[in-house]
């Protein structure tokens, strides 16, 4: 049986090799390996994020078959998908849940890379493209959230774009650009739809391709703990077939989890958005924006002589920027030294996000 398999594989590969000379690729694939140590578990999260992105693309394309992106039809079309289309409920709930899980996976992946210092030279660009991918993922989430045109989404978008408007200088024009006008209207919906299904996927694919190519070219990052081991003790897992099978196992479980979530925790639709009604009490954004939202709520109206929101936007902007350019200010680890500051900053950021997210949920 196994010989039959390898024979078949061999036939396919030689067919391709005759035409595209892929012997180099095959050699590369055979040699590709992943460090095997205590922290290997973190190495799966990038793949999970990739899987969830693929799930999003497929389920998103399926939703496109029935979704209508105008003010008077958006809500009705999502209702139609959820109730009248065969398995529409499944596709829709999977899409919504997978979006959330993807952002979570990307965050975990980012933090694991941070603490394992995978951003060091020569991998700075991989970090930057990765950060770009995080930003686009959250933008995906923000734009997609509006598409069902329900009450919650409408007001979340209103509040979210209001905060964008607080950015000094470019805030106002940026707000108009996002909203397609001064208020959140059907024009906003059209824009967000365009962003969500065309612009963001395009940028994402480019960044992702770069991100993955760079990893293949440079090999997987090895943290110092592992790198400094004597070669005899450096255990590895060959990528094909071992690590790939492990990933497959995890991916199967993740997909099944999505199905379970879709059946037992179906995504709600709520009521149709009405621009003239007042915002419902306790309006808040999705969890991955919640910590920012909560911080803004705590800011006083005025700090020194500046409006509170402006200070908030500036502080956040600076914080995010510093985080993004960590390869620049972290010189110590590039040289193989420990950087306590880096670790403390990382721990602080995680705790900060967790605390404010929890506060965002329990406070009203």
């Amino acid at each position: 049986m196994e010989e039959k398999n390898t024979k078949a594989k061999g036939k396919l590969l030689s067919w391709l090799d005759e035409r595209y000379d892929i012997s180099g690729l095959i050699e590369f694939a055979k040699k590709k390996s992943v460090p095997k140590f205590r922290e290997t578990i973190w190495y799966y999260f990038g793949g999970v994020a990739l899987l969830l992105f693929v799930v999003q693309v497929i389920s998103g394309i399926l939703l496109l078959m029935y979704y209508k992106g105008t003010e008077d039809l958006a809500y009705e079309s999502v209702k139609f998908i959820s109730t009248k289309v065969s398995f529409g409920w499944l596709i829709r709930s999977v899409h919504s849940w997978s979006a959330n899980l993807m952002v979570l996976a990307v965050f975990i992946h980012m933090f694991s890379v941070y603490f394992l210092k995978g951003f060091r030279k020569p991998r700075e660009l991989t970090w930057y493209t990765g950060f770009g991918l995080l930003a686009i993922s959250m933008a995906f989430g923000f734009s997609g959230y509006l598409l069902p045109w329900n009450e919650l989404a409408f007001f979340a978008t209103k509040v979210g774009t209001d905060i964008v408007g607080q950015v000094p200088l470019i805030g106002e024009p940026l707000l108009k650009l996002l909203r397609g006008g001064t208020d959140v209207t059907g024009a906003t919906l059209s824009r967000f739809f365009g962003f969500h299904v065309a612009i963001f996927p395009g940028i994402f694919i480019i960044l992702l391709t770069l991100h993955l190519l760079m990893i293949q070219r440079q090999g997987i990052a090895e943290p110092d703990d592992y790198k400094n081991l004597p070669p005899a003790e450096k255990k590895t897992i060959p990528f094909f077939p071992n690590f790939a099978m492990r990933e497959l196992l995890i991916w199967l479980i993740v997909i099944n989890i999505l199905a379970i979530l879709a059946v037992f925790f179906p995504w709600e639709l709520g009521t149709k958005a009405d621009p003239f009604s007042s915002a419902p009490v306790g309006i808040k954004p999705e969890w991955y924006f919640l910590f920012m939202f909560q911080v803004f709520k705590f800011l006083p109206g005025e700090i020194l002589f500046l409006p509170g929101e402006l200070v908030g936007v500036l502080l956040f902007g600076i914080g995010v920027l510093l985080w993004a350019i960590v390869p620049v200010w972290d010189k110590k680890t590039a040289k193989g030294n420990k950087n306590r500051l880096l670790t403390y900053v990382g721990i602080f950021v995680i705790i900060f996000i967790i605390v404010f997210t929890i506060l965002g949920f329990i406070l009203d």
């Binding site: 209702k79 959820s82 109730t83 409920w89 499944l90 060959p238 077939p241 071992n242 099978m245 492990r246 497959l248 196992l249 199967l252 479980i253 997909i255 099944n256 199905a259 379970i260 059946v263 179906p266």
Partner: protein, 488 residues
Amino acid sequence: MKIKLINISVSALLVILLSFSLTKAQAADQCIKCHLDLDDNHAKLFKTDVHFSKGISCAGCHGGDATSDDMDIAMSKEKGFIGVPSRVNRYEVCVNCHVDENKMKRYGSNIPTDQYENLKISIHFQPTFNNEGPIADCVTCHSVHDIKDVKDPASKVYPTKIVELCGSCHSSAEFMKQYNPGLPIDQVSKYRTSVHGHLNSKGDPNAAECASCHGSHEIFAVKDSRSLVYATNIPSVCSKCHSDAKLMAKYKIPTNQYANYVKSVHGVALLEKGDLSSPSCNDCHGNHGAVPPGVESISKVCGTCHVLNMELFEESPHKKAFDEHNYPECESCHGNHLVEPATDAMVGTQKPAVCVNCHSNEKNTKGFIVAGKMKTLIDSLKTEDSETKSILNEASQKGMDVSDATFSLKDVRQVLIQSRTTIHAFDLDKFKAQIDDGFNIVSKAKLSGEEAIDDYYYRRIGLGFSTVIVTLLVIGLYFKLRKLEKKS
């Protein structure tokens, strides 16, 4: 002798005083003295006028100086003489005094002073077609120079005379077509056929006549909501007399109609809900030709609105049966003034069903069976409907969408309403055909609901199935991996 002398002197004194006062009076109204001498008809008439008896002279209306016997002074403009007031504004003469309470009191009268206020906004006060003042002013109805107190049988507006008065315009096609060619002109002739009209002809001033219902000064078009005979005002207008026990005792008419009517479906609809299509007294009894509908014609009267019920009834076996027994058709089951909302309890084989009044297991058995079957069908549709509603509710509680099926159930209400009308054919087959529609709708909705609930479980079963496959795969992969790693 002495007494006789006193008598004579007292009488003489009286005569002197009387003639003195007469002269005084005559001295007060030189106008009439002169005009009587001239054999003026108006002056002759005026002597019968109520104003004359109150001591008002010709100058009271025409102006001028009544104390002077010199025509030039008496009838001078300086003294306020206005001659014969023109048709256009002659009413102003009456208004001069009759809106003033003090003036009324001065002449010992306590008649109301709102006539002009009311007349001004009434339909009669619109200008004539050739702009010669209001269509009807004070003079038109009360006449002039021979005006009597309205309680005086000689008054033109006394109940026994007012009908002719109103009719003088309102029964004239020539006259009415100048204003409203569509307005009927048969009111008087219809009225004369009515009970009110008969009594009125016989001289009964208590029977309703034109002003009793339409008002006197404040008359509006019937469609005008301010009119006393506007649909919503009619019941209370009729009840003004017809709920008065003392008044009605003479005619031996009961006085509970209004009290019953306001509690009835029709009364509540008209008076509380403002539904103008609901009948008030005149819709069943007629207005001018008001007469209770006769026994045989009741279904026709009810049938003017309840057409379907009437048609079905008249084709039904009940029509002949009721007529033979002199039963008052619709009224037998539904009442006349106190028509209560018809409920499903009215059909069936047990009280309070009205069927049992004539039908039982021993007598008129066929009808008894039919009534029972109809009741069963209605009840079972209602039961099916509520069962289906609870299934749909269960489905929606489970998070499944059943809005279409829920919506379709609204038609069941329609079917029930139509079936209740079809009852009046008293024909089981017709009834079954009608109500079967409802059963169809309900069974379809029930199916939808059950399918939705099934789908709920189907999802969970599908998930379980997929999870089993995934679990098997995961286990298989795990073992395969273990093998692989063992090898290396």
